[in-house]
Symmetry: C2
Subunit: 235 residues, 2 copies
Amino acid sequence: MASTGQFAEIAALAGDPARAAMLHALMDGRALTATELAHVAGVTPQTASGHLARMTTAGLLGVEKQGRHRYHRLASPTVARMMESIMQVAADLEPPKRLSVGPNDTALRAARTCYDHLAGQLGVALCDAMIDQGFVELDNDAGLVTDPGLRFLADIGLDADALAARRGKRSGRLLCRPCLDWSERRPHLAGGLGAALCAHCLDQGWVRRLHGARAVAVTPKGLGVFRGRFGARLG
Amino acid sequence: MASTGQFAEIAALAGDPARAAMLHALMDGRALTATELAHVAGVTPQTASGHLARMTTAGLLGVEKQGRHRYHRLASPTVARMMESIMQVAADLEPPKRLSVGPNDTALRAARTCYDHLAGQLGVALCDAMIDQGFVELDNDAGLVTDPGLRFLADIGLDADALAARRGKRSGRLLCRPCLDWSERRPHLAGGLGAALCAHCLDQGWVRRLHGARAVAVTPKGLGVFRGRFGARLG
DNA sequence: GCACTACTACGGTCCCCGCCGAACCATGGC
DNA sequence: GCCATGGTTCGGCGGGGACCGTAGTAGTGC
């Protein structure tokens, strides 16, 4: 089988604190340089370089060389999914020390990207609002966009055909994937729909990224749209 | 956040070869004793005991004491999902030595349980057959049971209402989750539907477990059902 | 050409952790 | 009561790997 040895190898790679920090930093889906990653991990560049090389040959990361810089990113959405699922298990672990609930942490809980979709209080609130309005129906395994939901998406500028193109084999209905939020313990929208929604929010300037991290902020314009059109209850 | 420290802790627990072997052995959803797990991991009982204690306090495993035995099982489906996703990433790793493609491995590829649903060639074949017959529609994110599919499920003895009860908030339609098979690289059915289907196959004697491992075998009766009713192309 | 930056390769140190042997509890059968 | 069995705890050993020095190699700008 994909022997336990290979399984252990991947898990062990993710299990080192320095490497875990780098992987987390890449969870916004963008590409960073080795020096930046060394900084977030708190190690010297040469140590970081070694870690990055190992993760790249293992297929966790991909690199794009560009001039004298080498940008490292997560190799695939599959890796991001893996990290999400580990985070869910880790969230059940009682917090050990809780010494620093810094502002960074607060921002992250409020709104963040989870590789390609929105998470945190914002992600959950948008999801709840769309359920309340009957735009999507969710169960533990999957979600379904209703006919009013399709009209709503078209209304805010998201074309259903474009959405269908993002997905694989299309079915008659537009489906999506629920993703359990590790900080809120409630589901938010993921999958092709979640990715499209997140990209659209960034395009339209409804949310913007904060200082190159995973956290995002809702713009005034976005707040109006989320409250008015989505019917979301936000802070 | 669910700090990178906790993330790394969970991943590191899964990253040790001995612990990974134990976790894999528990992936059939049943509970095993410490001695059995020590055997599959190839370590002494006292070493296994230490590993099991750590994984239990970390929330990866649960124990049920029963007489002088202590049965260890995966703590939750969440843990199983985590392991599935790590396996998917690990499957992309080129096989390192491939020295023993033993019969055990062959049986595992042919048909196995993946915590609570069927996987391997059998799982993929059943999924393909149900798609071909128009019983389910799948995309990358989710799947939908059609009306003929609901009738088919009732026909083979699976009640849709009972299925709905297994899931969380019910939607108008019966949804399911696709799970990418790490050996076949194609999706099979998971989620509540996959779990119900697997349980039903075991109940009806269509498949039976092999020597207490994850591998399962299709019985002659099951072969008839899978070919005749499902229309599956099997071996 | 030279200086500069970003990254990689090598050698050595240190520590964590997985492992086992032996001894120590708990349960069940006689 | 006694032994047998499954399981856990403790102490010491050993190896793997994470880390940082220093040194070396591309690519860029002057």
